[in-house]
C-alpha cells in the first residue's frame, strides 16, 4: 500500500476499482486540521479526470498497470495485432479498445500499450507521425487564399485537412492528439 507521502506525478493507484495516474498534486492544510494532498488524477481506462483530497494517513492501493513498447503489425476482423519489441510476443487488442487512436496508427508504428491486471487496455501514440498522402484532389495552381484546405487520405484511411498545395505522395507531419496537419516534410 502507498500513503500520501508516496504521491508524485505518474504514481498509479486504484480508486473505486479503476486505475488512475497522478497528474498534479499539492500540499494543503486547512484551518487547524490534518494535512491533505490535493490530487488531480486521470482514469487510465476512460481518460476522465478526477480530483480528490487525500488525507495524510489515507492508504492508497497501487494499481497493477504496466506499459510496454509494442509495434502495430496488422488488423484482423475485430482486433489490432501488436508485437512486443523486446520479446516478439504478439497480442491482439480489440478494435473497440483502441477506438479513434486507430486513425493515426499506421502499420509498423511503435506505440506504448497499457496493461491493467495483465490485460491490454489502451495504447498511446507518439504525439507526431509522418504519413504519405494516398488520396487527395489536385490543388489549384494560383489559389493562394490563406488558410484554405482540402481533405486528404492517409494509409490508415483517416482523412486530414491539408493545404491546397499538398499532392498525393507528399509526406506530411500530423499531430495525433488533434489530428491536425502540421507541415510538409517531403514532396512526391
Amino acid at each position: 500500500m502507498y500513503d500520501t507521502s508516496d504521491i508524485r506525478k505518474g504514481l498509479k493507484i486504484m480508486i473505486d476499482g479503476a486505475p488512475y495516474t497522478i497528474v498534479e498534486f499539492q500540499f494543503v492544510k486547512p484551518g487547524k486540521g490534518a494535512a491533505f494532498t490535493r490530487t488531480k488524477m486521470k482514469n487510465l481506462l476512460s481518460g476522465a479526470v478526477l480530483e480528490r483530497n487525500l488525507r495524510s494517513g489515507d492508504k492508497l492501493e497501487p494499481a497493477d498497470v504496466e506499459t510496454k513498447t509494442m509495434q502495430y503489425l496488422y488488423a484482423d476482423a475485430d482486433s489490432f495485432i501488436f508485437m512486443d519489441t523486446s520479446t516478439y510476443d504478439q497480442v491482439g487488442i480489440p478494435k473497440a479498445t483502441i477506438g479513434e487512436s486507430a486513425d493515426y496508427m499506421p502499420e509498423n508504428i511503435n506505440v506504448e500499450v497499457l496493461f491493467f491486471n495483465a490485460r491490454a487496455v489502451g495504447v498511446s501514440l507518439p504525439n507526431f507521425i509522418e504519413q504519405a498522402i494516398v488520396e487527395t484532389d489536385p490543388g489549384f495552381r494560383g489559389d493562394t487564399a490563406t488558410g484554405a484546405t482540402k481533405p486528404a487520405k492517409i494509409s490508415t484511411g483517416a482523412t486530414i485537412n491539408v493545404p491546397l498545395f499538398i499532392n498525393v505522395g507528399d509526406v506530411i507531419k500530423i499531430d495525433t492528439r488533434t489530428g491536425q496537419y502540421l507541415e510538409r516534410l517531403a514532396r512526391a
Binding site: 494543503v28 492544510k29 486547512p30 484551518g31 486540521g33 480528490r52 483530497n53 488525507r55
Partner: protein, 318 residues
Amino acid sequence: MVAARETLEARARILRAVRGWFERQGFVEVDTPARVRSPGQEVHLDAVAAGDGHWLITSPEYHMKRLVAAGLPRIVQVAKCWRADEWGPHHRGEFTMVEWYRANEPLETLADDCEALLRVAAVAGGRDGAARAFEAPFARTTVRELWARHAGIELTGDEDAVSLRAKATAAGVALGNAEAWDDIFYQVFLDRIEPRLAATGPTFVFDWPAPLAALARPKPGDSRVVERFELYAAGLELANAFGELTDAVEQRRRFEEEAAVRAARGKAVYPIDEALLAALPRMPPTAGIALGFDRLVMLALGVGDIAEVASFGDERGA
C-alpha cells in the same frame, strides 16, 4: 534563489504600512520568545526541535496571552514561526505571522481590523486594482451556513463523529478511513466548501463547531459553537481569530485531551504551559488573531506561490 527585487521592495512597504497602522491604533509591538518548552499542543501542528528540551514556536500566542494577562491591552507582534513538514504553494515551514490581541473588545472588532489591514496592504503593495478588490465590508457567514449551502449538510456542532460521518457519507463525500471528528469535518470542507470560498471575495467564517474550539471560548447562547472566525480571500486562508478562552480549568482539559490524542498517534507530546494556565484567570475578556503575513503579501501582489514572496523561497532551512 533570491526573490524578485520588486517583490522584496513591495513586501517591505507592506510590512512598514502594517506596522504603521497598528501604531496609529495604539498597539504596543512586542517581541516574545521564539524558542520555548511548550509550543502549541494542537494535534495537527508539529514543532521543530530546538535542542535541550526546547522547540521553535508554531505561534507566539501563549506568551502574548501572558502579556495581556499582565496588563497590556493592545499588543501586536510580527513573529517568525516554524511548523514541521508544512511545505506547499500556501505553506512554508518557516513563515511570518502577524498576531494581535485586543482586551475588552469583541471578536468582530478583529474582523474590522482585517478589513482595514487588507486595504492598507493592497495600497502599499502598489498593484493596480488590488485595493478595489478589498473594499470593506467583506462577507460574513458561519460554518453552519456554508455547510448547509455548499454541502447540503445540517451541522449542529454537538453531533458525535459517528453521526457526522453518516451525514457526510449521505452527502456523497468520500471519507476514506477518517474517523476523528475534525478529519471528517476537513474532508467535507476541502471537497465541498473551500473551492466555493476560493471563488468569492474575502469572507469571514464565524461560529466554529465546539470540537474545533482550540483556544476559543464557547459562544454565549449557543455552546455548540465557539467564538472563532477564519478569513478567506482569493483561495487563501489568511487569518484565524478567537474570543480567547480564559477558563483555566477548561483550557487544561483541552490541552490534556490534545496531548492524549498526540500520544495515541505517536506524535511528540509537549509539556503543558503551566505559566499560561496560571495567567489565564487574570486575563480580561480578550479577542486575539493570527494573520499569515506572507499570504497577505501574496494577496496584495496577486502571487500564487508563497515561495515567490520569501527572500529565499526555495531554501527549506530547518
